[in-house]
């Protein structure tokens, strides 16, 4: 079935006189990072299953500017933002879904005052909507008896107050959902935010992702679920560091739903 999924760009769609229901903003990690690309693919499979008409920007997409902004480079951020807004407004984009909480936050909160006004949703929110509308069905089955703990991405949780959407999807898996000592509003960062992903950490006595991985492992999970490609990298590194790859998987919520549906 995989061959049948077509990934049209917005340019192609518009040329055919069609307008997608939603634009999928893939993000830099989702486009280039090997691990994150798997999340991208899982998500488009779900979109396809639910018969969502979507498009991507493809080569017209460019970094939202989040890591530049959080490093203090407001110039570079605004240049990126304005270039992206020009593209998005050119296509009269109204609704955007993204698998990256950083893209989500930036597009949703920081683009409007520069002229980019869109309805922006995180993929867990979008999937939740599909389930509620009955366009997507999930049967837990294969996750029965598994323990899953959810790591809240800072830019989905604290930054935008979304704690429930990813959890509501996980509950569908009929697994045992266990909460870490620090969760939701008090969730501990994975260590990647604020452009830390791209540099070595400052001197300290531990890396942040190790601390967070330890908190997760305290709950003896089979799966650490998250909703951010950067959190995914950090937690995966943490699990490797603890030599637990054999027993603990780090998975995006979208991947888990796709796996539950055997796609």
């Amino acid at each position: 079935m995989s061959q049948s999924i077509s990934i049209p760009t917005l340019a192609e769609m518009i040329q055919e006189g069609k307008k997608p229901e939603v634009l999928f903003w893939v993000g830099c990690a989702g486009s280039f990072d090997d691990r994150a690309k798997k999340i991208t693919k899982a998500f488009v499979k779900l979109l396809h299953q639910a018969s969502v008409s979507f498009a991507v920007l493809g080569t017209e997409e460019s970094c939202t500017g989040d890591p530049a902004k959080r490093s203090g480079n407001e110039f570079l951020f605004q240049m990126q933002a304005m270039a992206n807004i020009e593209v998005l407004n050119g296509y009269e984009v109204q609704k955007i879904v993204t698998t990256c909480p950083h893209c989500f936050n930036t597009l949703k909160n920081e683009y409007p005052s520069l002229g980019g006004n869109y309805e922006v949703v995180h993929h867990t929110q979008f999937l939740k909507g599909l389930l509620e509308e009955g366009r997507l069905k999930v049967e837990g089955g294969q996750f029965k008896g598994k323990r899953i703990t959810f790591h809240d991405p800072c830019y989905l949780g604290r930054a935008n107050n979304e704690y429930e959407a990813p959890r509501s999807l996980l509950y569908k898996l009929e697994a045992e959902i266990v909460e870490m000592k620090n969760c939701k509003q008090r969730g501990l960062c994975c260590g990647a935010g604020g452009a830390q992903m791209f540099k070595e950490p400052e001197k300290g006595n531990k890396d942040i992702n190790i601390e967070r991985t330890e908190q997760a492992l305290d709950k003896k999970p089979n799966i650490i679920a998250t909703g951010c490609p950067f959190c995914n990298t950090m937690m995966t590194d943490g699990i490797k560091n603890k030599e637990k790859e054999a027993s603990v998987q780090v998975m995006d919520v979208a991947e888990l739903i796709a796996q539950a549906k055997d796609i």
């Binding site: 990934i7 760009t9 893939v26 830099c28 989702g30 486009s31 280039f32 990072d33 690309k37 991208t40 693919k41 488009v44 493809g58 080569t59 997409e61 460019s62 970094c63 890591p67 530049a68 959080r70 490093s71 203090g72 480079n73 407001e74 110039f75 570079l76 605004q78 240049m79 990126q80 304005m82 270039a83 936050n105 909160n109 920081e110 520069l114 800072c154 604290r158 930054a159 935008n160 509003q185 008090r186 501990l188 960062c189 935010g193 604020g194 452009a195 830390q196 992903m197 791209f198 540099k199 070595e200 950490p201 400052e202 001197k203 300290g204 006595n205 531990k206 942040i208 190790i210 967070r212």
Partner: protein, 441 residues
């Protein structure tokens, strides 16, 4: 009857208030050194936020023990201040318990509840003191908590106990005099707590007990005037500033950073060749500094934040960088900002109203670059602060200065940024490969 005590009272009272007013003016002047930022929108929502967070203490209870103790002290503090009203009127008029005849039994209820609260405050303060000095809770022992901040925190606890004890002793001696039917001490009030102190006075002469009653009365009011003026030098300023601070606190999503308008103007200019770069004559163009290297580059909200900080360290204890041994502590960011602002303020005072450069600034002299670069912008500190302080915004403004004015970001970040500039992604991948994953489906 001599008027001397009334006169002395009036002089002390007005001096106390005048000194306090002078300090308040100074604080307002210093906060106004910050750049303007409009936070006058959505007043109903702001009012609600203030009532909920400052008056209602909604965020204190996320730590149940500290929260409960704090609420006791806080309610005690507010309610007992009603008693203060009577003390002030008595002081001016030379009366004694002037409200008693008007309020009747309600007066008894009031005094009784003050007493119970006073006792509860003493108990709560005991626990607070234990947490700081015996259990030594970690967040009270970060490096920035040495010296005055540590002394200050304990001093406040001692002052509270002294004030409450004076209040109870005053009532106890009054009650003793009332039962002895000494003239001027007519039966008024009900004393559920201090009645247990009263027997201690048995065997003393009426004159001595009157002396005790008067002394504690005076010390109590003097103590309160002292406390009022102590606030300025203390983290205890939050009992006042928590209100404006929560009122003016950010209402947007925490993830939203401001977009610098000055940058927007320049970027538009760069992107649109039709705009005449010389449209504005050079005279009207102030040289704008991007980001912040000193307190005057921060907004007045950030400076208000700095004066409001209670040094509780909830932010620091939630900070992932701090938890893993990095030098960054969001509480220190706030304390440094306040200390530097105070220094700038004193400089202005000694130089007759204008700031004379002192060769120092907030960046490097107070806050190091190592601290700034350790932040993950996770917002844990902002979420944790019980009174709406935003240390992250200061960190970002200072990073902006480092990057846009000094080009001194860590080299890996410079690489990341040049990647974005050249290929539209933080990694060195070609933009043409963006959709390659499509072929792997």
């Amino acid at each position: 009857m001599t008027l001397l005590p009334n006169l002395i009272f009036a002089i002390l009272f007005f001096t106390g208030i005048a000194v306090f007013a002078k300090n308040v003016k100074k604080i307002i002047r210093n906060i106004r050194l910050g750049i303007s930022e409009n936070r006058s929108d959505q007043s109903p929502l702001r009012l609600k936020q203030m009532l909920r967070v400052a008056l209602g203490q909604s965020k204190m209870v996320s730590r149940p023990i500290a929260g409960a103790l704090h609420i006791v002290v806080y309610i005690g503090f507010i309610i007992i201040n009603i008693e203060l009203l009577e003390i002030i009127v008595d002081g001016f008029l030379g009366t004694h318990r002037v409200f008693a005849p008007f309020l009747g039994t309600f007066y008894n209820v009031l005094i009784a509840s003050f007493e119970i609260l006073a006792l509860l405050v003493i108990v709560a303060v005991f626990f607070f003191w234990t947490r700081r000095n015996i259990i030594k809770i970690k967040r009270f022992f970060n490096p920035e908590m040495k010296g005055w901040p540590k002394t200050d925190a304990n001093l406040i606890l001692y002052i509270e106990v002294v004030l409450m004890s004076l209040f109870l002793t005053m009532n106890a001696s009054d009650f003793w005099l009332q039962t002895k039917e000494v003239s001027n001490y007519s039966l008024a009030g009900s004393f559920p707590v201090s009645q247990f102190i009263t027997p201690l006075f048995d065997g003393l002469s009426v004159v001595s007990v009157i002396a005790i009653e008067r002394t504690t009365w005076w010390l109590h009011i003097l103590g309160i005037l002292f406390f009022l003026n102590y606030l300025y030098y203390s983290k205890h300023l939050h009992i006042i500033l928590a209100f404006p601070n929560t009122y003016f606190a950010n209402l947007q999503s925490k993830g939203q950073l401001s977009n610098l308008d000055a940058v927007t103007a320049e970027v538009k200019l760069m992107m649109d060749p039709s705009v005449d770069p010389y449209a504005n004559s050079p005279e009207d163009q102030e040289i704008v500094k991007f980001g912040a290297c000193d307190v005057v580059d921060l907004s007045w909200i950030q400076l208000l934040n700095a004066y409001t900080c209670t040094e509780c360290g909830r932010c620091t204890s939630e900070c992932p960088a701090n938890q893993t041994g990095k030098v960054l502590s969001p509480r220190k960011i706030m304390m440094d900002t306040r200390d530097r602002l105070e220094e700038v303020g004193k400089n202005i005072d000694t130089n007759k109203g204008s700031f004379v450069p002192d060769g120092k600034q907030l960046l490097n002299d107070y806050i190091t670059q190592e601290e700034l670069w350790a932040c993950t912008s996770c917002n844990a500190c902002v979420e944790a602060c019980p009174i709406g302080i935003d240390p992250l915004s200061i960190i970002i403004d200072m990073r902006r200065y480092l990057v846009m004015e000094q080009s001194s970001a860590p080299s890996e970040l410079n690489n990341m940024m040049s990647n974005i500039e050249n290929n539209g992604a933080p990694w060195p991948f070609s933009p043409m490969d963006r959709l390659n994953w499509k072929n792997e489906l």
